[in-house]
Amino acid sequence: MSLTRRQFGRQFGCAFCGLAAALLAGSLAAQAPASGRTFLVPGYRPAPASDEKGLWSLMDRVEQELKLSRFVVRDPTLNAYVRDIMCRLAKDHCPDVRTYIVRTAQFNASMAPNGMMEVWTGLLLRCGDEAQLAAILGHEMGHYLRSHTVERWRDARNKSDFGTFLGLGLAVAGLGAFGSLAQLALVASSYGFSRDQEREADEIGLELMSKAGYPPVAAAEVWEQLIDEYKAGTAERARQLLFATHPEPEERMGALREAAAKAGGDAGERGHERYLEKLAGVRAQLVGDELALRQYGRSELVFERLLVRWPDDGQLWFAKGEVYRLRGEDGDAARALASYARALETKNAPPETLRGTMLIELKSGARDRAQAAFEAYLKAKPDAADADALRMLLSQ
């Protein structure tokens, strides 16, 4: 099965395709890395009367709105952690970049030309360690350092008019109307980068990872994981013929793996346990958001893959059990009970594991076992908000 890049954009948001931009070469005060590319200089600001300044102003307004959004995750530990990773990659550019963690259960990260970076929680859930997150942040930094967004914006504006640009973006993003400036930013991010820009961002990302002490191979891993997830999806998806010229994901993954090997392979720090520790404050919420999508095959794959990394994680076993309970196909009740049982053997099974057990047992007519699970649930979570509802089920 081969996938177009655009299909991926729709499925997983736009990490690895991101927001559009590039500066006029002449307006850049150049910084030349080993690759010989011209990068934005730290502290760069566009000229006051330039068209780029207009785009920055728009993004500044988007950022002001984003700061107040109910969807921004405020967890201080996680925010500081993501910011630290970004700074480890960005080095001198660190003061120019602001990171925002946005509660959206899809895989996405994007970077605006003014230095506003969005990291979606669906991405955080899927990463198996710090290095994988660094791979995505590094890629987005690549777009930023090379001003791909501005470049793309100018290109679109020159080829058509801005209305067409937005209209196309709307169609791609599937948005019915602008509800906010943040949505406008999303539209902009949906208007994909060119093949060359993506390749360049991949290469820069690998370089940044290597310099920051992360194993570059993590970038290929993330891409491979996304392809697997896509294939696990069951729904029919229409091909985006308009974007059929973009690179195939498998092709890109192969190129990334090859480039990663040259850039240092698996040498570097994974940050495996630290990643889990920093995510702890929001992980239950992220799991719940993923389950709410009811994309059973995909979620099953995500949790199974994470269980390979953290085989004794009760939260993940619980999540896997929930996938089966909610799907409710033949054999799922037994699968759910087995996953819940495995979760309860761990040190961090959420109390809801017992709730799930109760619901499955009740459904299968095992009322005594359901009652026992309910009582254990209340013992583990005395203030359970759904206690009355579950009691109602048991009494029926």
């Binding site: 993003a173 599937g174 109307a177 906010s180 908000a385 109602m392």
Partner: protein, 199 residues
């Protein structure tokens, strides 16, 4: 002509308009299966954007409050879908005849998350409640959509002969939900199943 119609509909959609039919405060039959007695005038949306076994009413406009009647959702069908774009490519979660009230509550949560493209969609405080002269259930909802408006809601429903019947009223937390909650409660209290649903 077709192009003209499409343009008119598109213009209405862009303007946030949907064709409305006035509903008088007298006993009404919804979808041929639910009979209710409104206490005030409502507006029925004939082009609501919702699809499925639903009928949609509003008081102040769909952006401020909506009342969704579930007029017999059968096994294997979603509670409703909305044409909102990319998320709609995926298969929606569906109602099952064997679902209990907890599972219906979870299903509405997932349905809200999908159709309003949000991660802030919650249902809570599930309780048994009489609905349409029989045993039913009721729970509250909370939703924040892409417009960042916080909306409270309440669902009341019952499963009869393997189908889900009910009503979900939701509106902006600020004013538009709470003001009409007594009207919703009164309508639920007046609800009866009629026609095929009553058999």
């Amino acid at each position: 002509m077709i192009r003209l119609c499409v343009c008119v509909v598109a213009a209405l959609a862009l303007a946030g308009c949907a064709p409305l039919v006035l509903v008088q405060p007298e006993r009404q039959t919804v979808g041929g299966v639910i009979s209710v007695q409104p206490g005030i005038k409502w507006n029925k949306l004939t082009m609501s954007g919702y699809r499925g076994n639903v009928e949609v009413w509003t008081l102040d406009g769909p952006g401020l409050n909506t009342l969704l009647f579930f007029t017999g959702v059968p096994d294997g069908e979603p509670l409703f879908t909305r044409a909102t774009g990319a998320a709609q490519q995926e298969k929606p979660a569906v109602f099952r005849s064997a679902m209990n009230p907890v599972e219906v509550q979870e299903l509405l949560e997932a349905t809200m998350a999908r159709n309003f493209q949000t991660t802030i969609a919650e249902a809570r405080n599930l309780k048994p409640a009489p609905v349409a002269n029989g045993q039913g259930f009721r729970f509250e909802t909370r939703l924040v959509g892409r417009d960042e408006v916080e909306r409270d809601g309440v669902f009341a429903g019952t499963i009869r002969n393997g189908k889900l019947y009910g009503a979900w009223f939701q509106g902006a937390k600020l004013h538009y939900f709470k003001r009409y909650l007594p009207e919703f409660d009164q309508m639920v209290a007046s609800a009866q199943l009629v026609g095929d649903a009553a058999r």
